[in-house]
């Protein structure tokens, strides 16, 4: 086993364990903090895959913005942080079936995949992933349309949020 594999296994176990804690802990703020740990584990996985840009964006967007927003929302809406009610609702079996089906589907899909035992190719010298991503996101024959549509969607969501929250006197 190489060092990289050991690091990957440790990070993957950490991510899965903290993801498990997110859904099982009763304290909502703890759940949000475990979510931060999970997202951080995903960021480390990106880093292991040499996707530095994605790793840092993961930390900036998911930890810096979304997780903080979650914590704010939990603190501002809940009177008592400890949830006393049941942790499952009546539809738990639908969720369980869906989860099992997704797992089985992914398992069969990945079983036939030959890339599992392949070693990653070395990155050529002078390869700049950030430039590649930037070119891909702005060139017309790559992803400029999805990129722009996502931006318009976000602006629309922003305007909508302001409209809903606006207090007309």
């Amino acid at each position: 086993m190489t060092g990289e594999q050991i690091v990957f296994l440790v990070v993957a176990l950490f991510t899965l364990a903290s993801g498990f804690m997110v859904v099982t802990t009763r304290n909502l703020v703890h759940a949000a903090l475990w979510l931060v740990a999970t997202l951080f584990g995903v960021a480390v996985t990106y880093g292991l895959l040499n996707a530095n840009f994605l790793a840092v964006v993961q930390v900036v967007v998911y930890i810096g913005a979304i997780a903080i927003l979650f914590i704010f929302a939990v603190m501002l809406t809940r009177k008592d942080m400890r949830d006393q009610g049941p942790q499952m609702n009546r539809n738990w079996w639908v969720g369980a079936i869906l989860a099992v089906l997704t797992f089985v589907g992914l398992f069969f899909l990945l079983q036939g995949w030959s890339g599992m035992s392949m070693l990653a190719k070395d990155i050529p010298l002078g390869f700049d992933a950030v430039t590649e991503i930037g070119n891909a996101l702005t060139s017309p024959d790559a992803y400029v349309l999805p990129f722009e549509i996502a931006s318009v969607l976000l602006v629309a969501a922003l305007v909508g949020a302001v409209y809903v929250a606006f207090n007309r006197k």
């Binding site: 703020v29 703890h30 840092v56 930390v59 930890i63 810096g64 913005a65 603190m75 950030v130």
Partner: protein, 402 residues
């Protein structure tokens, strides 16, 4: 390659020789050497941090027409060590009802969010932790961890003042991140790279002369990110006692305090790297890497002094004014400036340097002037509205009396 030209590489090679001589595999030796390098950098930073306590206290004393620490050692130089001994032997208290794990984790995360910033600081041409090609984004990511540590401290303390302080501070940090990130993109446009090393290397002309407005906006956003006056909402000692760190005692408080000082110094350094050429000073950095380190430390200290100067001169701004200032003035201004700079950069490609620099400078001045003119008109109108309504209400009161 002699020690004076590239000290780190020589030291690393020497250590590698020793470790492999002991029969250690090369990869393990390299990991150990990397670890030792990190340890060396962090130890030096912590020693610098101790010194910063003295600098901060001495400078604030001068600003307030006092002497500052002057009893322990020459010019009070040993005072910070006395402070540290005091902090260490203080009772370590944990408030009742506190969330112990989160409560103890917060000061560590706070210090960590500052220390990891130094991974991307280029100290000399050959001394750079990691030349990340996304160094600029990395700064924002570290800031996100800092925000997280503050909200953890505020929540886990089980104290209303701490929680309010944390809310305010995180609201400010999240808001001012927007103009800050936008301004970080301007050196990126000039250098054509987000890496700190490349940004430093491409500053034949300091980026301050290309984009003075960007440097000013970055400084304002950085001060807000640091939570220093006039943006010290989190502390707000007259209203919140001490904000998010109110319940912390001893060295845990010391971690927050030392983290804040080092953070301010670090942002002085980033200001120097992004807009004032980093370790470069008229070819001095090519003479010796030690001179390069001295240059960047000097520039960082100048930036730190300016941050202190602002802190001890201005009064605290009210939180709603601060957020309105950010969202209604700074953010649109930053976006406009980014668009103007990108457009000018594309239009001026291939022009001689003196023309490029002067036109860039001019475009910044024009944008700043228009923004100030709009702000002035707006504030005049608001003032007239307020004064008009006051005058009107006075007339009404008089009419009611008669």
């Amino acid at each position: 390659m002699s020690f004076l030209n590239d000290p780190l590489k020589v030291a690393a090679d020497w250590l590698l020789g020793i470790f492999t001589g002991w029969g250690m595999p090369v990869t393990a030796a390299l990991i150990l050497i990397g670890f030792l390098g990190v340890l060396l950098l962090i130890s030096l930073l912590m020693v610098l941090d101790i010194f910063l306590v003295w600098v901060e206290r001495k400078v604030v004393a001068r600003f307030q027409d006092r002497l500052g620490p002057n009893r322990v050692g020459p010019w009070g130089l040993i005072q910070p060590f006395a402070d540290i001994i005091k902090l260490i032997i203080k009772e370590d208290t944990t408030p009742g009802g506190a969330d112990k794990v989160v409560y103890n984790l917060a000061p560590m995360l706070s210090m960590m969010s500052v220390l990891i910033l130094w991974a991307v600081v280029p100290l000399a041409p050959t001394m750079l932790g990691v030349d990340l090609n996304i160094g600029v984004l990395y700064i924002i990511a570290a800031g996100a961890i800092g925000a997280l540590s503050i909200i953890m401290a505020g929540w886990s303390s089980n104290n209303k003042f701490a929680l309010i302080g944390a809310f305010r501070q995180v609201a400010v940090m999240v808001s001012f991140e927007v103009p800050m990130l936008t301004m970080l993109l301007i050196p990126t446009i000039f250098a054509g790279s987000m890496g700190m090393g490349a940004i430093t290397e491409s500053q034949d002309v300091w980026f301050f002369f290309l984009a003075p407005l960007a440097a000013v906006i970055f400084l304002i956003a950085a001060i807000a990110e640091l939570g220093r006056a006039p943006f010290d909402m989190a502390e707000g000692e007259s209203e919140l006692v001490s904000g998010y760190n109110i319940e912390y005692s001893g060295m845990k408080f010391g971690m927050f305090y030392a983290g804040e000082l080092l953070h301010a110094f670090t942002f002085g350094g980033f200001w120097a790297i992004l807009f004032f050429g980093g370790y470069r000073f008229f070819g001095l950095e090519k003479v010796s890497p030690f001179l390069a380190i001295a240059t960047i430390l000097f520039k960082a200290f100048v930036g730190y002094f300016i941050i202190m100067w602002i802190k001890y001169t201005l009064l605290r701004i009210r939180i709603d004014h601060m957020l309105a200032f950010n969202w209604k003035f700074l953010t649109p201004l930053a976006f406009t400036l980014l668009m103007v700079t990108a457009l000018m950069n594309a239009l001026l490609a291939g022009t001689p340097t003196w023309l490029y620099v002067s036109l860039m400078f001019l475009s910044n001045v024009v944008v700043a002037w228009i923004a100030l003119e709009i702000a002035r008109t707006y504030s005049r109108r608001e003032r007239e509205k307020v004064e008009g309504s006051k005058a009107g209400s006075l007339v009404e009161i008089e009419a009611a009396h008669q």
